[in-house]
Symmetry: C2
Subunit: 520 residues, 2 copies
C-alpha cells in the first residue's frame, strides 16, 4: 500500500525534486514518515520556517529547479512568507507543501485553523488537495506550475489524505522539470536591434533575470561593442555571473536620484530580463519611473528567456561570432594593507582579492555588499545572489540553499548584521548539513540604511527614540557567541590581516564558519 | 504643523496606547521621527517582527488594552503573523501600524510591494488609510475596533500620508480604551442555572476567556459548591489567575482521548468564556467534538464577559455571598531534593515551590509546562499565560510584553527549547529594556511533542530522516551562548540545587536572566 504522502513524494522525486527544507508539525507526520520510505529526497531541518523558504529560493537559483518546503499549517507558512516574497520577486520555482487539518476536522475551527490559501495566494499559486484521489495529480500540477511560470506554488494537503492509501499511481520516473522561460518573439528582437542601431551611444541595455548568465553577458558585450550601447544590470538580480573576463556591468544605483541620473540621457532603454526600472521607494519630488518617459522597450520580461533573446539580438546587430567588448582583464586590485581597519570598502576590496574560483556569494545589505560588487568584476568567475524582494533575512538562508545545491562550490554569505538577525537560525542548519559556507557579518551594530533614511528626514539627536530604533548596540550583539550557540565555529576580525587569516582558514577547513567583522 | 504620523500617534496616545513594539523600515520613517515629537508612547525595538507582535499580545493580556506594533510593509507584517494568529485566538486587542509605499508610488510594483490587506485579513480587521485627511479618524476606528471585538486590527498607512501635514485634529485626551466584553443575556444565565440544578454532579462548567479571572474563578467555586458541578478550564487560556487560595481547576487534557474521557459522563457542559471543546488535531477514529453530543451550552463566548456571567450565575444558584468550595489550602509541595536531576515533573514541582508572589508565568511547551501548571495551584497568587493559537515562538515575546505591561511583577518564561528557537531574538529586547524576566529553557534537545506524534505513526528508527527532523541535537544548541550573544546573562542547571541557586539569584538581581535546564 502506498500512502498519499508517499505518492506526493514519489511524484515530486520523479519530476526532479531532491531536497525538502522542512519544519513540520503534527499535521505533516505522514509526510515526515514517508521521507524514509521514498528514496531520493533529502530532508533538511530549519529551526524557523523563513530559513526553509529562503533556502528553497537559494537552492532553485543555483539548481534551476524547485526544492520542496514542508511547513506546518497557516502559522508555519506565515513564518516563511517573507522569503517566499523574495522568491516571488526572484521568479524562482519553489514548491511549498503545507499540511492542513484532516478534512473532516477542518470545520471545527481548532486553534491552529486559519486561511492558508489566503496567505499562499500573496506569493504565488495555490493548489489545494480536496480529494484523496488527487494527491499525485495535484503534486504534478503544482510542480509544473512552479517551473512553468517560474514562481512559488503552494500545495495544501490535509493530514488524512497524507496518511490514507493513495488511489492512484505516482508519476514516477518522468523527466525532471527545470525552470522554463518563454522565448521572446522575433519582432521584439528586430525592434530592439533597430532601436540600438539608431540610438547607438544614447541607448542603454538593462539586463536582469537570466540575462545575467555568462552567455547572456557575453552576448550583451557583443551588442555593446557593435552598437555603442551602455550596459547596466538591474539593482538586485536573483543570480548574476561575475568575473572570469566578463564585461564589468554596473548595477543601477539603489537611490532613485543616482539611478535616474545614469539613465537621464538615454533615448532608449532596452530591458532584457529586467522590468522597466522604478524607484525602490517613493520619495517626495523624485519620480517613480527612472528612465526618461517613453524610452523603455521590453526585449524580454523577467520571466522570459533573456539569454536567448540577447544572443539573437547580438547575432542580428553584430553578426554571429562577432567579438565582444573586452571584458575586465587581469586580476582584481590587491587587498588593502594588513593593518587597515575594516570598513565596507576595505572588506569589499579584500574579499574580491581573495575570492576563490567558482565561489557563490550571497549578498545581503549594502555596507560591504556594494563595494564588493564593484570590486569583484575583475576577479575569478563567481556567482552573486542578491535580495530580490527587500524582505530582510534572506542572505543566510539563501546561502544555505545554494550550498545544498552546489556542494562542490565554496559559498560566502556577505551579510549585514541587522538583516542577519532575522534568520540567524540558518547557522544551525549550516552546521548540521556541514555546508562549506563562510559567513562574513558586517557588524556596524546599526540598521545602516535606516540611518541614511533618517538623515533624509532631518537627523535625530543621539539617544532619541528614533536613533535607538536604528541601533543594535544596547546590548551589543555578539555574533561569535550566537554562532557558537548554533554550533558554528566563529572568530572576530578587526583588521585586514585578521580577516584574511580567518577567511583563508575557513575556506581551507571547509564546513561552516562565521567571522564577525568589526566595521568602523 | 502636525504631520499625519504625529496625528496617528497623538490619537493612539489619547486613547490609552503607551507602547509601540517596533521593527520599522524606510516607509515608516515619518512615524519613527514622530515618536520623538509625541509624548507618551514608548518605542520598543524587536529584531524580528514576531517578537513585536507576540509582545503586543502579551502586553494586552496583562494591561487589558492594545499596544501598537510598527511593521514594515507586507514582509514585515508577514514575519509577525504567527504571533498575531495567537493574539487572534487569545482575543487580545492589538493595533498593527503597517507602512505602505507612498500612495503615488504603489502602482509601480516596486520590489517590496505586496498585498498587505490580504495578509492582515487572515488575523483580524483591516483599516486602510486611503485619504490624507483620514489618518486620525482611521486610527480611532481601528483602535476602537481592536478593543470592541476584542482582537487584532491592522492599519495600512502610506508613507506620504505619514509625512504630510494632517488636515484634522487628533482626538487628544479622550478616555483610554479597554478591552470591552459583551454581557451575557439574562436568559442564558437562567438557562444555565436550570441545567446545573437539574444535572448537578453530571454537569461540567468549562471556563475560558475572562472566566479565568480571580473573581470569575471564585464565582465558579461558589457554583460548584452549590450544585456539585465539576470545573474545568480550557486547555490554553490567554490568561489565568492561579494560587492564593483559588480552587484548583484542571485544564482539559491536550490529547483528545483524555479530554473526551474527562467529559464522557457529563450530561451538560456549560461553557463560560470558552468555545465548545474540540480536539486540537484530528486523529483517525477519534471524534473532533470532545463533549458528548448535545451537551454544550454557551453561557458566555470567548469574547463575552464570562466573569460577569459567572458572578450572575453564582448569585442565582448559590445566592449572593454564598461560600465557595474550599480553595487549595496551604503551600505547594516542597521542591524535590537538591541532588535530583532535572526533568519536566521535577522542574514543575520545584518552580511551584519557589514561585514569587504575583509572578507572571509565560508557558510554552508541555515538557515542564504541564507539570508546573498542576503543581502551582496551591502556590501564591500568580498569573499564567499560555500559547492560545499553537503558533510556536510565542512564549518569549509574550513574556517580554507582559514585563513591559507590569514592571513591578516578576516574569518567568517557562519555555521549551524547540519553540524558543523561533523567536530567540526576544532575549535581546529583554536585555535592552532591562526587563525582570527569568527565562527557563527546558533543553531536551528535541521537538518532544513531535516524538510523541511520530510514535503514534509507529516509531521511526534512530538516524532516520524522521528522527532527525525531531532532533535539535546535531549540532547541540547552546542556550547559554545564544543568550550571551543577545546580551543576556545565562547559566546552566542540571540539578534542583543548581536550578534553585540560579533562579533565586536571578530573581534577586533583577533584569533578564536565562537558565538552560538540562532535561533528562
Amino acid at each position: 500500500m502506498m500512502t498519499g504522502a508517499e505518492a506526493l513524494l514519489r511524484t515530486a522525486a520523479g519530476h526532479g525534486a531532491r531536497v525538502c527544507f522542512a519544519n513540520p508539525g503534527t499535521t505533516e507526520m505522514p509526510l515526515v514518515a514517508a521521507l524514509d520510505q521514498v528514496p531520493g529526497i533529502r530532508a533538511v531541518l530549519g529551526l524557523q520556517e523563513n530559513v526553509c523558504t529562503g533556502a528553497a529560493d537559494g537552492y532553485a537559483r543555483i539548481a534551476g529547479r524547485a526544492a520542496l518546503t514542508l511547513l506546518h499549517l497557516g502559522p508555519g507558512l506565515a513564518n516563511g512568507l517573507a522569503n517566499l516574497h523574495n522568491a516571488r520577486r526572484a521568479h524562482t520555482p519553489v514548491l511549498n507543501v503545507v499540511g492542513e487539518h484532516a478534512s473532516w476536522h477542518r470545520p471545527y475551527d481548532a486553534p491552529l485553523t486559519s486561511d492558508i490559501a489566503a496567505l499562499a495566494g500573496t506569493v504565488g499559486s495555490v493548489h489545494g488537495v480536496t480529494d484523496r484521489a488527487a494527491i499525485a495529480k495535484v503534486t504534478r500540477a503544482a510542480l509544473q506550475d512552479a517551473h512553468a511560470r517560474p514562481g512559488v506554488a503552494t500545495m495544501i494537503v490535509p493530514a488524512d489524505f497524507q496518511g490514507e492509501a493513495a488511489d492512484e499511481e505516482p508519476s514516477d520516473g518522468e523527466a525532471p522539470l527545470a525552470a522554463a522561460r518563454r522565448q521572446a518573439a522575433l519582432e521584439r528582437v528586430e525592434a530592439a536591434a533597430a532601436a540600438l542601431r539608431r540610438e547607438r551611444e544614447r541607448a542603454v541595455l538593462l539586463l536582469g533575470g537570466n540575462g545575467l548568465s555568462r552567455a547572456a553577458q557575453r552576448a550583451a558585450g557583443r551588442i555593446a561593442a557593435s552598437t555603442g550601447a551602455r550596459l547596466y544590470s538591474e539593482t538586485f538580480p536573483f543570480r548574476v555571473e561575475r568575473g572570469g573576463g566578463l564585461p564589468s556591468i554596473d548595477r543601477l544605483a539603489y537611490f532613485p536620484e543616482a539611478a535616474a541620473a545614469a539613465l537621464a540621457d538615454a533615448t532608449v532603454v532596452v530591458a532584457a530580463g529586467a522590468a522597466g526600472p522604478v524607484a525602490y521607494f517613493g520619495y517626495q519630488g523624485v519620480p517613480s519611473v527612472l528612465a526618461p518617459p517613453g524610452t523603455v522597450r521590453q526585449l524580454a520580461g523577467p520571466r522570459d528567456d533573456a539569454e536567448y533573446a540577447l544572443q539573437a539580438l547580438a547575432d542580428l546587430v553584430a553578426g554571429p561570432g562577432s567579438p565582444a567588448a573586452p571584458g575586465e582583464p587581469g586580476a582584481p586590485g590587491d587587498a588593502p594593507p594588513p593593518d587597515t581597519p575594516l570598513s565596507g570598502p576595505v572588506v569589499g576590496t579584500a574579499l574580491a582579492a581573495w575570492l576563490p574560483e567558482q565561489a557563490i556569494v550571497s549578498v545581503e545589505g549594502g555596507t560591504c555588499g556594494y563595494p564588493f560588487y564593484a570590486a569583484s568584476a575583475c576577479g575569478p568567475p563567481h556567482t552573486v545572489l542578491t535580495n530580490t524582494g527587500g524582505a530582510i533575512g534572506q542572505g543566510l538562508p539563501c546561502a544555505l540553499g545554494a550550498a545544498i545545491a552546489a556542494p562542490g562550490r565554496p559559498v560566502i554569505a556577505l551579510q549585514s548584521d541587522g538583516g542577519g538577525l532575522y534568520t540567524a537560525q540558518a547557522l544551525w542548519t549550516m552546521g548540521r548539513e556541514r555546508c562549506d559556507i563562510v559567513v562574513l557579518i558586517a557588524a556596524n551594530h546599526a540598521y545602516g540604511v535606516l540611518r541614511t533614511e533618517l538623515a533624509r528626514h532631518g537627523q535625530s539627536p543621539a539617544g532619541s527614540q528614533a536613533t535607538r530604533l536604528t541601533s543594535l548596540d544596547d546590548p551589543r550583539l555578539d555574533w561569535v557567541a550566537l554562532a557558537g550557540g548554533y554550533g558554528v565555529a566563529a572568530r572576530r576580525a578587526a583588521t585586514v590581516r585578521q580577516l584574511e587569516r580567518a577567511f583563508r582558514q575557513a575556506i581551507r577547513d571547509g564546513g561552516p564558519h562565521l567571522i564577525e567583522m568589526a566595521i568602523g
